[in-house]
């Protein structure tokens, strides 16, 4: 039995989220994670319900605001494996500023974006990744905004682990998830996830027909090549690790944390406080 358990969900039958949830549990199980040392964080949305369906610590915060909360939880206790599962609207729309600046911190958390290219929970408005021209209940004459390229933005912001996966390819997705969780630093996996209820363009078939695996000939440490790959999102869609670079993470660079130990357990000695007081005398 999976330690991370099974719960009743509130998703639509056929939704890509089921597969993502299953792969995530498998990944955690296969990595030998202890549920009580795992923190599942999320914002608000369909994807963001994920922590409700996994047996682990959970932080279901505000729409768009999961990254700062997850960042600080990791800062407070580096022993937690911190994983954020949330939607494309949440991560790239409402939370766009945190997306970029969390990357700049290179905090050791994993960010799984369930990218259904639509606002699911609010019933089908364009998200930042919705295709140009797509018609919705709000974009009644078609979406005019230039689509957001998450992987490109991530690389441009300095991320060291940038990957794409597809809910319809669970084996590959699980493997990518394991790599992302194991990466020391901020890791983004943008997961193509069909929304059967509100996105009639980017269907399972749509993705299935377009995705292809990056093979061994692809060098994920070549930044310019990665940038080029990151722009490919049309007739063909590469999945796999697009960019990989090892670099010091937040904890390694931070002067307080690099001393070691969990922050939340530290204390300021009375003597130090006394000295600070005396400095004002």
């Amino acid at each position: 039995m999976c330690q991370f358990q099974t719960y009743e969900t509130a998703w639509c039958p056929g939704c890509g989220n089921f597969s993502i949830l299953k792969c995530l549990k498998n990944a955690l199980e296969e990595l030998g994670k202890d549920p009580s040392k795992v923190l599942m964080a999320a914002g608000i949305g369909q994807a963001a319900k994920t922590p409700q369906y996994i047996s682990a610590n959970s932080f279901c915060g505000l729409h768009g605001r999961s990254l700062p909360a997850a960042t600080a939880a990791k800062i407070a206790n580096e022993e937690l494996t911190v994983i954020v599962n949330t939607g494309d609207g949440d991560s790239y729309g409402e939370g766009g500023n945190h997306f970029i600046h969390t990357i700049r911190r290179n905090i050791d958390i994993t960010h799984f974006v369930h990218n259904n290219q639509i606002y699911g929970l609010t019933k089908g408005q364009a998200s930042p990744t919705t295709a140009e021209g797509q018609i919705t209940g709000v974009q009644t004459t078609g979406n005019n905004n230039i689509p957001f390229h998450p992987l490109l933005l991530a690389i441009a912001s300095g991320a060291g682990f940038v990957a794409r996966a597809f809910s319809g390819d669970p084996e590959h997705l699980t493997a990518i998830m394991k790599k992302a969780i194991s990466y020391k630093g901020y890791a983004l996996v943008d997961i193509l996830q069909p929304c059967v209820s509100f996105n009639k363009v980017n269907t399972f078939r749509y993705y299935k027909d377009r995705v292809y695996h990056l093979d061994d000939s692809y060098d994920p440490t070549n930044k310019m090549a990665a940038i080029e790959k990151a722009m490919e999102f049309d007739d063909t869609i590469p999945i796999g690790v697009l960019y990989h670079e090892e670099m010091p993470d937040f904890h390694a660079k931070n002067a307080v944390l690099s001393k070691g130990g969990q922050l939340y357990k530290k204390q300021c000695e009375d003597a130090v406080l006394q000295r600070l007081i005396q400095e004002f005398v």
Partner: protein, 558 residues
Amino acid sequence: MYNILIGGAAGQGIDTTVTILEKLLKKSGYFVYTTRDVMSRVRGGHNFSTIRFGNEIIRSHSHQLDGIIALNSETIELHHAKLKENGFILCDSKLREQDNKIIPLPMEEMAKELGNPRVSGSIAIGAILKLFGESLDHAEDVMKVSVKQLYYEINIKAIHLGYDKVDARFLHKGGNFHDWMLLSGNQAIALGAIAAGLRFYSAYPMSPSTSIMEYLASKSLETDVLVEQAEDEIAAINMAIGASYAGARAMTGTSGGGFSLMVEALGLSGIAEIPLVAVDVQRPGPATGLPTRTEQSDLKFVVSASHGEFPRMVIAVRDHADAYYQTIRAFTMADKYQIPVIILSDQYLADSNITVKPFDLPNLQDITPYLDNIDMELDEDYLRYRFTEDGISPRRIPGETKALVAADSDEHDERGWITESADIRTRMMDKRLHKLNKLKEELQEPEFIGDDNCEILLLGWGSMYGPIKEAVKLLNKKYNGKYGALVFGDIFPLPTARLLEKAPLAKQIVNIEQNATGQLAGIIREYTGIQCNDSILKYDGRQISAEEIVDILEKGGL
């Protein structure tokens, strides 16, 4: 008591001069009360500081000056009317013809001779020390910690030069405050937070709150407080909540504009029951307003900020010592009730440097997190939001035990799972709001000042404490116990006992607030039915002084 003003353009080094001078005065035993009046710019314009000092405790700034140190002629024009009969103006000889008030010193020239035009401030300091009958005993100590090593010698020389150029005029009045602290309101809050076991501070720069972050950052390595500058205020507060969830005592700080952006997350702290301390150092609004000035206009806002309903506590800090001790208490209350606690300060308090008795270290119980591990079910059955009699559920730290800790911004059941049940919803709302019942028993009543049989009861809150306290003293000397005052620190939930006891005895009730709509008066009326008969409201960005209060009351025939 003496009162001197140092004025000039931004960038002329007023702050450094003041910092050194106030330290020297304190070292010589004085109680020092320095307030700052600055423009929202880095160079130019007109800034000034007022240093009031004497041998007894001072509670307010004052507009009557014994002396002016004018770094430019604008300073003379703007402030000379406030000089007392025997007051002086110390300025560069070039600025003004000598008259009976002017003490000209060729400071610029002297500084140039010394080899650095930037030491004119130290020349002025030397002159001031002499004028007020001080010695140069502490000059070296203070200079050592105030300027870079490189500039130490030349500044010492400058002080001596200034000292030698003028004659003593005023008597040294003594005073026993050598061993007291001299610090700003923001530093007091920062120290309080450190004392309370702060581990994580996240903020986005915003005047006049930034110096809390700067102080904490400067002591980060010694104190193991991690300071994180966020990309915006929304990130700042969500970070603080995330850190607190994970077991680190956490605080965020900002001014009103930044607080406006934190409003949504305040409710997250409320419904997810994650302790949070948020400081709002008020400045005049709305929107950008007057960024470097003072006001008390966020009270009603923070009392009801965020959609929906949840328990919270608002503490208005009244002076520097209060800022320290109440910050410690804010953490205790946030932790104990698992609620957001908002500390309201303002620019007046934040930026004034005042003498206070060295702070006591906190009691252990104040800094021990309320984790309540006893009487908890088996880990597997741990219910983060268990229904309890007082509404406080046992809290655990994720990762500490096998218990899985949930936090949820949706309405949830005891375990922390989303629910849509009408019954659970009602019970969860009750559970959360009922925490205030217990909290109310711990509220601190407003401090009563003045005569028990007063006819006129003044009401104030936060940083009005000092000016009101001094005003009541002045008034009661003159009018024989006619005045009393209640100054609120705990302000939401509103403690009502002392007010209900005192108000009926007074003939007149006057609220004195640094805002335009009388916000405290509104809250008092809502929660007690008591209506103020009159009010003194100031909202020009400058703090009212004790003298002004006295003046207005006298003129109003009150």
